[in-house]
Symmetry: D2
Subunit: 301 residues, 4 copies
């Protein structure tokens, strides 16, 4: 099929490449000339503007947005919507908040356009292994895009699916990331305990490799963990500083809004906040309180 890819960052460029390799014809745009140059490949034709991209696509147009979530998505829509025609399809493959996707879906529907939200998992490995895609949108619209999803997915019939109406795709991807937070933290805590058990002098990389085969906790995240442990088992080159990218806090907010107790996902998020709270006011106040009531030992700053 012919598809316009908007946003040629790591994810967008790789997805364009995977689609082109499987015979799709991609018109691609990114505001950065370097990104456009790097994206050049058989089957991928970078263009210098959004209007060129829109002009180059046959009707009904298929546009895949792979831009940072939040304002960039809305601003891209502001630019392209006036030039689109009824029946055109806009897919947001990024990490948008599902409520934004619902809002955008309504906006496009008023214009006679179709909106599809596609939560995309797989990171930089998706180019070779395929992407897992959770898709929200009208059934017939999603069905019309089948050749595209089939090419991006690990196999034509697995690793992707329409999960519900507009918004359901990004909602499902949000939960996916919440689970990811919890799993990552579980592994990190486990390896930290192993690391601190000095008396056994354990080889954490070896253990991660043992677990990769046959164990109950084998997983792709464990494969990545093993790769990280192989490079630097003592984690000497890194700061204990863990970023978060939004989906974790959205998941926590959603759990609370739905009255669903999610202590582990929540504590995973809070652990990341804690990693960046280097001069914790609450811990200093606790030290001060202890000093007040018992003259307990306090470390002076």
């Amino acid at each position: 099929m012919e598809l316009g890819m908007i946003g040629l960052g790591r994810m967008g460029a790789n997805m364009a490449r995977r689609l082109a390799r499987q015979g799709h014809q991609i018109t691609a745009f990114d505001p950065s000339p370097e990104a456009r140059a790097q994206a050049q490949a058989p089957g991928i034709g970078p263009v210098g503007s959004l209007s060129e991209l829109i002009a180059a696509l046959p009707s009904p147009r298929i546009l895949w947005l792979m831009v940072p979530s939040g304002q960039p998505v809305d601003s891209t829509l502001d630019q392209i919507l006036p030039a689109l025609a009824a029946g055109d399809i806009v897919i947001d493959g990024g990490n948008s908040n599902y409520k934004d996707s619902q809002r955008r879906g309504a906006r496009l529907a008023e214009l006679g356009l179709h909106f599809v939200d596609c939560g995309t998992s797989g990171g930089i490995w998706g180019l070779e292994e395929g992407y897992s895609m959770m898709i929200g949108g009208a059934p017939e619209v999603v069905e019309s895009l089948r050749p595209i999803f089939a090419s991006l997915a690990p196999s034509p019939t697995s690793g992707w699916g329409r999960v519900g109406p507009v918004g359901a795709g990004h909602f499902t991807k949000m939960i996916h990331n919440g689970i990811e937070y919890g799993m990552m933290e579980a592994y990190a805590e486990g390896f930290a305990i192993l690391h601190h058990k000095r008396e056994f002098d354990l080889d954490l990389h070896q253990i991660s490799e043992i677990w990769r085969e046959g164990s109950v906790i084998r997983s792709w995240l464990l494969d990545l963990t093993a790769a990280a442990l192989e490079k630097d088992p003592g984690m000497t080159g890194l700061e204990p500083w863990v970023d978060d990218s939004g989906e974790g806090r959205w998941t926590v907010a959603e759990a609370i809004a739905l009255d669903v107790p999610a202590p582990v996902i929540t504590m995973s998020l809070i652990g990341r906040l804690r990693s960046r709270d280097r001069d914790s006011y609450s811990d200093k106040l606790l030290a001060a309180m202890r000093q007040q009531f018992g003259g307990h030992a306090v470390k002076k700053g």
Copy 2:
């Protein structure tokens, strides 16, 4: 090799079977005649007593214990140790506490016997897929058992290894199970949020299948989850009652003893306690406190 398998429950019987299939000769004992009868297979010779088992094995004897952790291990040792000879090897393949294994290792060493603790993961699937094994013991003793571990493992050179001295095997397995608790809870919370998002009417089994291919959270536990969701997506036939088998609480105790913060593994354990606390005293007291200070709504029992 020739090996005596003591304990023919689900795990022990399957391990004997996998060993026999790969050409090892297994003498097997279980106090239950039914278990002995069911274990009968080419390469497996059940015997009616521990003394027969010991008598049947060539020197140095290799005995693999696959009995419930705790007292049964000690009581089995009480029975077999007097009949063993210097150089014989006893492997505990069960879920023993690593401190018990250290104690037992010292006990056997005083008698000139070798003790090996082998944390074994894989459950009922190990028979076909192989077991992941984390092994503690003297290097040359573990090396002498290589053919056995190579046959039990998913492949001769992966999924198993000596991780340290006696105790290190069960220690590593304990942490493995702690991580498992955290991962299971992360999935469970994520699916619970999906389940409660009524407006999207999500198909949880479908989503689990999508995630199995290409997603960041694909894992063997997710494969099992998908199987469970396929059978009964509404979980209608189950009580919300989650048992725990010891390793989780040992992991939490170890983390605290080592001053390692492990909030997610800990909350996973507490969640299981909570699942069985059906008439929570603390929640009733909270309701009573709210009643005291504000005349808040309270559900009468």
Copy 3:
């Protein structure tokens, strides 16, 4: 001073009473005739409509809203604002979200009216003991209301204060309630452990009384807890079902928005959600997963 009290529920009626006892003249309104009849007292003149209340007050008018948070506050404002004159003061003494208070403050400011948000703590005990009040608003406006706050507070010079601009009062009250959640849960957990330590056959009411004098954990919440334990130490008459009234979840959301780790306040909220999740989907899924990988014991529903 003369003040119009809008809302004669438990809190509003008691506050009117406390003000009237100290010589203020209260015009009072509630949509319920019963509430109006019950509020009748020396110094309190109930009226049958908001317009009568507004007409009865001298300029600049002082109106105290004590209505449920959320829509009722906005709808009351919709009714009264058209009848107010520049310089009039509206105080919201309820549990509004501070962002709503900021929005309402801006709305009133455009009309030349003053808005004051007063977070009020004390529950049904405030009538006798006085209320703790955290106040947001312009300094001179709050200062002009000093006689009112001085009368409502435990003493004229303590237990109340202007903490910042409009919104700061309800923000501070929100955090107060978040802390309250954590403290309540800490007591509840402690008493639950005592309750389950059957071998000591502890008298929980006695222990609460001991702690009330001289201990590090003495507090007003402990006084209430002791009263509840005296009435029903076994908590036999209550369901383990704990409601939450909004401020807890707002506190959790705010902590996350500010990147402040607040695990205890958060877990207190999640504990309340859990108390109402009687047929936990996540726990059922955990049981199903355990069944999948190990044939573990599962309670059939």
Copy 4:
């Protein structure tokens, strides 16, 4: 009454002083000559050895141990038990683990001696305000000590009591401290959120003072917090490093052993561990995992 006080640290010296002020006659010992010299006061007679102390007391002797928990208690018992006579009473007023107290109680009982475990709360403020005491021991033994407890307590008839057999006193004190952990953390988190809400520029000391009067969260710990905030509202002079003294982890272990979910007390303990884990291995591993799967931003050490 006449009483031998062993251990003249801050707690022991203050308790001796409070007893002497109320007419009791105290023979006092501490291995440090300075501590003995400082303890000298009307009604307090320091002696230079344990044997002198024992010789100075009338029969039946009453000995109050106020030494660090753990080995020091056992070693003191080793020294004094041989010199005691049937009917003598030893009170452990320190923070011993209740299981140690049960063991010690049995040891003394075999010798015909009485053991009483007295959990003591109040810190350095107890001298003036009295101590809260939770007492375990035989009813008639505890009753015989009534004049002593009555003098140490805030009032003769409140703030103290026999809560059960030997061990029950220290058990109850342990739970007291677990609750204390949770309350402290709740306050600390609340003030941390206030601290980070820069837009309101809140005065945390002022807010703590407002809350001290009339609010639902007023408490003695809040009084201490207010004192700490008055001295240094920015907590500029302290490290975010919070010690723990044993009872918190014992409480967590006990809760788990009894299958009682205690998430808030547990997270309070874990928060303290976290405050001292300055170079968190788990957070570094999380950063490494994120780097692996997405090329996410990582802070280099």
